[in-house]
């Protein structure tokens, strides 16, 4: 299969998805959706990694993606645990209420 799609198209998609993620972090006030936006940004970075790996014909990009996914999984586990205990203490998860360091 002859691939006719240039690398820049993949990078453009990646940039668009990253921007959506950053916008989500900035405008949403639900920490779960903020979290999902962060995942979206990681995902777009992964897409750029794989596209570059294909373009330069090396596997290192794919291995990096593998590690990024693992770190994302660890991050989600700890972050969701934090959200759960914040909900338990404040009975709400609105980020505007998280303005004090003391629980």
């Amino acid at each position: 299969m002859v691939d006719t799609i240039p690398l820049s198209w993949y990078l453009a998609i990646s940039a668009a998805l990253f921007t959506m993620g950053a916008l989500g972090v900035l405008i949403r006030r639900n920490p779960l959706i903020i979290f999902m936006s962060i995942e979206l940004m990681l995902n777009s970075a992964n897409l750029a990694f794989v596209a570059f790996a294909r373009s330069f014909n090396v596997l290192t990009g794919q291995i990096f993606v593998f590690f990024v996914m693992t770190v994302a999984a660890a991050e989600v586990a700890v972050g969701l645990a934090l959200i759960v205990i914040i909900f338990r203490n404040k009975h709400s998860i609105d980020v505007d209420l998280m303005n004090s360091l003391k629980g």
Partner: protein, 175 residues
Amino acid sequence: MNLTLILFIVLAVVAVAAAIGLLVSRNTVYAALFLVLNYASVAVFYLLLGAPFIALVQVTVYAGAIMVLFLFVIMLLGAEKLPKAKVLPWQRPVAIGLAALLLVEAGFLLFKRLTTISTPLANPDASVNTTGSLQTLGMALFNQYLLPFEVTSILLLVAMVGAIVLTKKEKGEQG
């Protein structure tokens, strides 16, 4: 028009539309499902890019495990709909402006380097090709990248212990 191109365009539209859906949906469960859609379309991008292992890991780890964790927490917290409280009035326009700036910046960089990156992706070497990809990936992962791989396992263990310690109720604590 060639088939790969059509597939690419459809996937791009689906991925970006799912991301927009994630941004605008009021219901957290819908947002999570939009994210799953986005992950699935990006997984097909990985297949197009000749990375079947990454595509499958994307589906199982991201769309499977991580999103189930998300949905579980959403259900646990009662799919809370946040009240439309007093938002900073300037926050949304400023955020959208900054995001547009980021996009323009990325687009500028892309167009500036267009000559170097606009060449169509060549067919990969036999060594990196799809059929041999998994074997090569495994060899690289367990030889050259063995130490990072092991550190990753420790990271996952730490995250697991951390999540359990954080959510564990202390002795004598109420509810």
